[in-house]
């Protein structure tokens, strides 16, 4: 059964964000609207029925939750989800998709800080822009994204993909400082030139920049070559509706090794000629 949750007027008032971790296919999948409404919203919070009007969404495939309203004050939507599909019609608050390990979380608007933090699997798609620390570690954690895919069609704030270890992050718009900083591995694709400090202290992994860009001083030029092996990434992103240059599969990239302060085993691939 698919459910639709609509935020009740005034339920997410300014102030500390509501915890929306209970809104995920893992928690609500298979429940009737009445059963879902009786579920606790977490801690001392009221029930989900106090916050949302819940009904059946007959147009959706099973295991899909749709949530509507001004959700900027609701944190951790889809947190920990491992299956199913959660669609947020509008903006989402901070920490959406925190620690998610599977399933698909689609946020049609913007999302707050720390979306996809500590993610280990699944797909997070943000139609608008993301805040700071996209895909970064959870508080006190050592690893950022450790699997899965994050697609942000708009821009992202500072420290996107900080300490990323595995998986794929795509950011379509402008990116704040220190994107891909301290990356351990994985693939970060930036459609526009990132802010200062991109890839700083990265140990391994790949930062792909699809427009002209000059890396920092701790990156050293290492030739020009195609990156045929990235075709699966272009295929996947293309199928997700991400606009990519058609020539990408055969295009040449300027390769930079870095961060040399961390051994220089990471790489930055910069598309020659721009998009």
């Amino acid at each position: 059964m698919s459910l639709r949750l609509r935020l009740r007027p005034g339920a997410a008032a300014p102030g500390p964000a509501l915890d929306g971790a209970a809104v995920s296919p893992d928690c609500l999948g298979g429940l009737s609207p009445l059963a879902a409404a009786r579920r606790s919203a977490g801690g001392a919070a009221p029930t989900l029925g106090d916050i949302f009007a819940i009904d059946v969404d007959g147009d959706r495939e099973p295991d899909t939750i749709t949530i509507e309203g001004d959700l900027r004050g609701v944190a951790r939507l889809g947190a920990g989800m491992s299956r199913g599909r959660l669609v947020v019609r509008g903006d989402a608050g901070p920490r959406a998709g925190s620690r998610m390990s599977g399933g698909r979380l689609e946020i049609e608007g913007d999302t707050g800080a720390r979306a996809g933090e500590g993610m280990t699997g699944g797909i997070l798609v943000v139609g608008g822009s993301a805040g700071d620390r996209l895909g970064a570690p959870v508080a006190g954690g050592a690893r950022g994204v450790d699997g899965g895919v994050i697609v942000v069609r708009g821009g992202a704030g500072a420290m996107a993909a900080f300490r990323m270890r595995r998986g794929t992050v795509f950011i379509g718009g402008a990116t704040g400082p220190a994107a891909g900083a301290a990356m351990i591995a994985g693939t970060l694709v930036l459609a526009r030139a990132p802010g200062p400090g991109a890839g700083a202290l990265m140990r391994r992994g790949t930062v792909v920049v699809l427009c002209p860009f000059t890396p920092g001083a701790t990156f050293a030029a290492a030739g020009r070559a195609p990156a045929h092996h990235l075709k699966p990434w272009w295929d996947a992103l293309g199928r997700a509706g991400v606009p990519l240059p058609e020539r990408l599969p055969a295009a040449r990239f300027a390769r930079y090794s870095g961060d040399l302060a961390e051994g220089g085993r990471g790489e930055m691939l910069i598309l020659e000629g721009g998009p």
Binding site: G121, I123, G147, G148, T206, H229, A236, A240, R265
Partner: protein
Amino acid sequence: MVIAGTFIEDTYAEAFALRAARLVITADDAGLARTAAAAMTGFAASIIGCGCEAGIEGPLPRETPDGRPGVRVLAFGRSAADLQDQLVRRVGQCVMTAATTACYDDLPSDETLRLGSMLRFFGDGHQASKRVDAALAALADGAVRPRRLWRIPVMDGEFVVDARCGVRKGVAGGNFLILGRTPAATLDAARRAVAAIGAVPGVILPFPGGIARSGSKVGSRYRRLAASTNTPYCPTLRAVVPTALPDDVAAVLEIVIDGLTAAGVAAAMAAGIRAACGEGIARIGAGNYGGRLGKHLFHLRPLLGGGGT
């Protein structure tokens, strides 16, 4: 049963199960890919003396994992361990060394063997891996599949190879014999058969040019040899040994077929036999061991649409 004037013997080919792997070799152009594939599948005619049987599949892949021109290679070994040993040697020496190439698994399977994860050590610590995880595959709606690639620095850039490749049970030793009235007509018929089988997916012809002239029988008068020349089919011995050759047969050539499935081998045999039949070809026969060795028996007449007798 007669096809285009050629008599089809009421006999069968006997084939046996081997472990099979399927790779796609890509390169900047089709010629380079084919050169690497030919080198890799060289000296892989018979598992008895070569360690594995391997060859290039006829139909080209419509798409390759990196979008470049490529060819498919099938390799067959006695066990997954034997096959791994052979593939690591052959890909390492013949594909990684070939300019611009990459090598990908093309046989998704639960059972896998190590390939790139062995070859990566050539990178001397500078190798790097890239993982297409399940989420990326799901984002692509199945258009790509999860895999781990190893990127090994080489002098023209990087050699990219799948960390592991799939292994399945395959069928080796499908065959038929072309009994011709002249050596030239027999060779022409064999070439027609090879061309026809080239359109069948999932099969290879492991012998040089797809044609074997030194068919073998089990055993030898020499104790150390497990197999020896197929004396009943040697025209020069017809006067001194029991012969299988009618008076009007001057030469015999054999087409040996390995495939991923018994159905594929059967389809290839049927296509090859139909193409081989014609003027100058007296008979089509097949090699077997009385049904004692192989799991798969391919009766010629039923697979050509006729009844057995």
